[in-house]
């Protein structure tokens, strides 16, 4: 099974060059059952990555391009009056929106209005949507990979903290290394390549892997470490607010998934440290003054691993 993970990573590496760490993180995020937020400048390969992930996992996916005039119905679906063929009568039929898919690519989520954003974010948390009084289950698995532009770009509606909290991880890709960039320039159309990736993980394997993540052992020493981190963000660091219990759970889940991706059956502090920036930075970006990237570095430098 871990072979499948390795193969998937290898496939992804052919599409997104020189970003092994981020690819592992995003895969771990999905294995932990969490939603992923990719934040970067336009043209850094966000969409390519999400396409590649969908392809590797072999999931049925939809893509929504978020714009400022996008309406909730465009995401969730709408009921339309239809005539019965061969009859004068007709009835309302619900047309499922793009949200009814196993993997939803929400491109540039912060370009939509808060109303549309929250329509999606509700679905992310509940894994069901309620339209016109009727509650409909979303497919299983249900992943959301959202991309967004940095909030200081024009034409964006920043996601509030409560909604950022719903994303297990936020990663950013960053500029590629010169070598990777050169390879990119020399190579063929990578986005095209992403659309023709081979499925590496079957749905059965995926659900088994998700199960497996839950069984990864986190010893009391690791839990102590996580609790010290949480405590540090709440009491000692001087942030406006600390990590919520959901944040604590997210950190543990992510660390477990990271351990699995690294083919270990137990969590070690390095796992926690590896996922910490992706899990914590977007949750505490507003709480700390120094800006997003410094939060996890600050925590890592100040929390003892052993007591």
């Amino acid at each position: 099974m871990t072979k499948a993970v390795e193969a998937a990573l290898a496939q992804l590496n052919t599409v997104i060059l020189g970003k092994e760490e981020q690819l592992k993180l995003s895969l771990a995020c999905l294995l932990a059952g969490g939603h992923l937020l990719i934040e970067d400048l336009p043209g850094m390969g966000k969409t390519t990555l999400s396409h590649a992930l969908a392809g590797v996992l072999g999931l049925q996916y939809n893509r929504i391009q978020f714009t400022s005039d996008l309406l909730p119905a465009d995401i969730l679906g709408v009921s339309i009056f239809e005539k019965e063929p061969g009859s004068e009568l007709g009835r309302f039929r619900f047309h499922e929106g793009p949200v009814f898919s196993q993997l939803l690519l929400a491109d540039e989520i912060n370009r939509a209005t808060p109303k549309s954003q929250s329509a999606l974010l509700e679905a992310m948390e509940e894994r069901q949507v309620t339209v016109e009084g009727e509650t409909r289950q979303l497919p299983d698995p249900f992943f959301v990979i959202a991309t967004q532009n940095p909030v200081n770009q024009s034409g964006t509606f920043p996601l509030p903290e409560s909604q950022l909290d719903r994303f297990l991880m936020r990663i950013s890709l960053g500029y590629p290394s010169p070598a990777a960039e050169r390879q990119l320039l020399e190579g063929n159309n990578h986005r095209d390549k992403a659309n023709h990736l081979q499925q590496q993980i079957t749905p059965e394997q995926l659900s088994a892997l998700k199960q497996h993540v839950q069984q990864i052992h986190a010893s009391s020493s690791v839990l102590d470490y996580i609790q010290r981190i949480i405590g540090f963000t709440r009491y000692d660091a001087g942030y406006a607010y600390g990590l919520s219990p959901r944040g604590a759970l997210a950190l543990l889940q992510a660390a477990k998934a990271w351990a699995l991706v690294n083919q270990r059956e137990h969590v070690i502090p390095e796992d926690v440290q590896a996922v910490l920036p992706a899990v914590v930075d977007h949750r505490l970006a507003d709480a700390a003054d120094g800006g997003a990237s410094s939060v996890s570095a600050h925590i890592l430098a100040n929390v003892d691993v052993l007591v």
């Binding site: 052992h217 010893s219 020493s221 690791v222 059956e265 137990h266 969590v267 070690i268 502090p269 390095e270 440290q273 890592l300 430098a301 100040n302 929390v303 003892d304 691993v305 052993l306 007591v307």
Partner: protein
């Protein structure tokens, strides 16, 4: 941080109200009745507020309540300024404060008010039961503080604290503070009162008064209040007919009542008091020196109690020229003192001219029948001792001892001697002294207490107000002052058995009280219980309430052979500082208080090695990454480091089944090997 007014935790309110009621109780006896109503109203009102059935009072209501209650207090004490009225005002305002409390801060204020009220309560009530109530109240107050404090810790919705949690906490705190309390109680310097506070108005105190007219002592016999308790050096009960506790010598008669003359101001104060007298007697082999110790209830007067020809050896106590003990100050607090009395007969000094004149003083006229009769009797019995015997015989022949004597007119001695012939001790003593003085025998009335109840368990004597008595003393040349008790001639059982037995036929003893002592005594078990309670109460008085500077000194002397409390204060302060210094030193030496396992300590030694070698390791670095770093730096030590990393990872982080397979010993051994390997590698690197 901004100060936030935290609301009063709901779970603390019940504790607060209970504490308020408990603290109020010791004050009940000296406060006007309406305080009960006020306590009931404020507590009930606050409770209804808590239930949400009444709103919080607004500023106008509060103002009105303060004015109303202030007025009521002033009216209740009829404008007098005394300790009671001051405490009363304080109680009233504290009760009102409970109405107002709304925030946590208010709660703290009320708790501290309650502590103060509790302390003031002991000004008025000091019995054992009140002491126990004080402990309970302290416990409840500590519980209140706990509830106030813990009630805040839950965020958001008020966390309801169970009774069990709070009470366990409070009990713990109380128990921890108990040893300190005992030490402070035993060693804290006992100053004498810096000033005497008039605790209660004199009228309120039951007891002898400084004059005696017929019927005065009879009113005392209706009270079973404690007058004093006495123990004797011998531990034995002296014969009852020796137990004449002299308090006042009344040597001036104005035709109506007996009073003290100016001779009472002629006082010899200790240490000038003739203690040598006793020592002389001892050496001369005179029998019957009775040494006693008294714990006296407050009387508001300065007289003390002494046995015949007695004295005392205590500072602040003096002996008047008429032979009774007085204190320098009125006794407003329970007083403990030692004294002695002499039972044996011996030749005494002469009666001076002034004293003789004083003790023969009579009004010029009145009681004509008595005057004639006394002269006639003197002619028949021309010596003092025979005359006295004849008088006593006369009393014994036809007089009745009663608590309900008829009312007497102007010539009261005439009427008593010839018409009614019914009287209480005051009648007999007064008539006797009057008659003796008429024929030229110096005589005086003495009032005090006679007898008392002996407690066999603890060997002490309880003297109550109904033991009050009046008798006579006459001067016999060559003998001295001799006690004559005319009552004994009429009703010998009064002296031998006590007032209750003497009046058994009349049924007038304590007739106004609901439960008469006789009824209790007729039920053996109840009487046993009563005596047991009395014993406990006595011990409480003896060892706790009358623990004063003297007693403290004697205890310190017997334990440490020192008496200066300053020495002990420095000692205690030193000990406290020493304890804190030791604790602080331990904490500093240990660093942050953490219990560290052997493996952890072993790992620390390895880190210390690294530090020596100039490799900085932050606490925020995971041990595995440290080991990886070392492996890169010292490739020769790699196998040992790898081994250690594997073991540590397994031990610290793997699933229990795997982690348990690695013993602590194995990890320690691996650490040792790794350290050795590192040292070797470092040596290599240096070369």
């Amino acid at each position: 941080m901004k100060a936030i007014e935290r609301p009063l935790p709901r779970s603390a309110l019940l504790w607060l109200l209970a504490a308020g009621v408990l603290v109020f109780m010791p004050h009940h006896s000296h406060l006007p009745w309406f305080f009960w109503g006020m306590a009931l109203i404020t507590t009930g009102w606050r409770w209804l507020m808590h239930r949400g059935q009444l709103p919080y009072p607004n500023a106008k209501t509060k103002m009105a309540a303060v004015v109303l209650v202030g007025g009521a207090v002033v009216a209740g004490f009829s404008g007098h300024y005394s300790l009671e009225s001051a405490v009363g005002f304080f109680v009233a305002m504290s009760l009102l404060k409970t109405l107002e409390m709304r925030t946590q801060r208010d709660g703290y204020i009320v708790v501290f008010l309650c502590f103060f009220l509790l302390a003031t309560g002991f000004l008025f009530e000091q019995e054992l039961l009140w002491g126990l109530l004080g402990i309970v109240a302290t416990w409840v107050l500590i519980g209140t503080l706990v509830a106030l404090q813990l009630g805040q810790q839950g965020t958001g919705a008020a966390k309801q604290l169970g009774f069990a949690v709070v009470s366990r906490f409070a009990t713990g705190i109380l128990l921890i503070s108990l040893p300190l309390m005992l030490v402070v109680y035993l060693l804290f310097p006992r100053f004498g009162p810096l000033w005497s506070i008039k605790l209660q108005s004199e009228q309120a105190m039951t007891g002898l008064s400084d004059s005696m007219s017929p019927g005065d002592i009879a009113s005392l016999s209706q009270s079973d209040e404690l007058a004093f308790r006495a123990t004797f050096e011998s531990g034995q009960q002296p014969p009852r007919n020796q137990l004449y506790w002299r308090a006042l010598v009344l040597d001036q008669y104005d035709g109506r009542s007996w009073q003290r003359s100016g001779s009472r101001r002629n006082v010899t104060w200790y240490p000038e008091m003739p203690e040598y007298q006793v020592e002389q007697l001892r050496r001369a082999g005179v029998e019957g020196v009775t040494r006693y110790e008294i714990i006296q209830e407050p009387t508001g007067q300065n007289w003390l109690f002494t046995l015949r020809d007695g004295g005392s050896m205590e500072p602040g106590i003096g002996l008047t020229s008429s032979g009774v003990l007085v204190d320098r100050r009125p006794v407003f607090q329970r007083k403990r003192y030692r004294g002695y009395g002499i039972d044996g007969q011996y030749a005494r000094h002469q009666l001076g001219y002034v004293q003789r004149r004083l003790n023969l003083q009579l009004p010029d006229d009145g009681n004509p029948r008595t005057r004639a009769w006394a002269q006639q009797l003197w002619q028949q019995n021309p010596t003092a001792d025979v005359f006295v015997q004849a008088l006593l015989d006369h009393f014994a022949a036809s007089f009745t001892y009663t608590l309900k004597p008829p009312v007497l007119g102007d010539d009261d001695i005439d009427e008593f001697l010839f018409d009614t012939q019914r009287g209480f001790c005051a009648h007999f003593a007064g008539a006797f002294v009057y008659a003796a003085r008429l024929v030229g025998i110096p005589a005086r009335v003495v009032t005090g207490y006679q007898g008392g109840e002996w407690n066999n368990a603890e060997n002490y004597l309880t003297v109550r107000q109904y033991d009050a008595h009046g008798w006579a003393e006459i001067w016999l040349d060559g003998v001295g002052w001799v006690r004559v008790d005319p009552t004994a001639a009429v009703a010998p059982s009064r002296i031998e058995l006590g007032l209750e037995q003497a009046l058994a036929g009349e049924g007038s003893f304590m007739e106004n009280s609901l439960i008469k002592p006789g009824q209790i005594r007729s039920m053996p078990w109840l009487n046993q219980l009563r005596l047991k309670l009395e014993s406990v109460n006595y011990l409480w008085h003896r060892w706790v309430l009358s623990y004063d500077g003297e007693r403290q000194k004697s205890i310190l002397r017997s334990i440490f052979n020192r008496t200066d409390y300053l020495y002990f204060i420095w000692w205690i302060i030193g000990a406290v500082i020493a304890v804190f210094v030791v604790i602080a030193a331990l904490m500093l030496a240990k660093g942050p208080a953490r219990s560290r396992s052997a493996e952890r300590r072993g790992w620390d030694t390895l880190l210390a090695d690294c530090e020596k070698a100039g490799i900085a390791v932050a606490a925020s670095e995971s041990p595995l990454s440290v080991l990886q770093r070392l492996q890169r730096q010292y490739s020769s030590a790699r196998p040992a480091l790898l081994q250690l990393a594997t073991l540590m990872e397994q031990r610290l982080y793997a699933a229990p089944s795997q982690a348990d397979a690695v013993s602590s010993k194995a990890v320690l051994a691996a650490i040792k090997q790794a350290r050795r390997a590192l040292k070797r590698a470092q040596k290599l690197a240096r070369k």
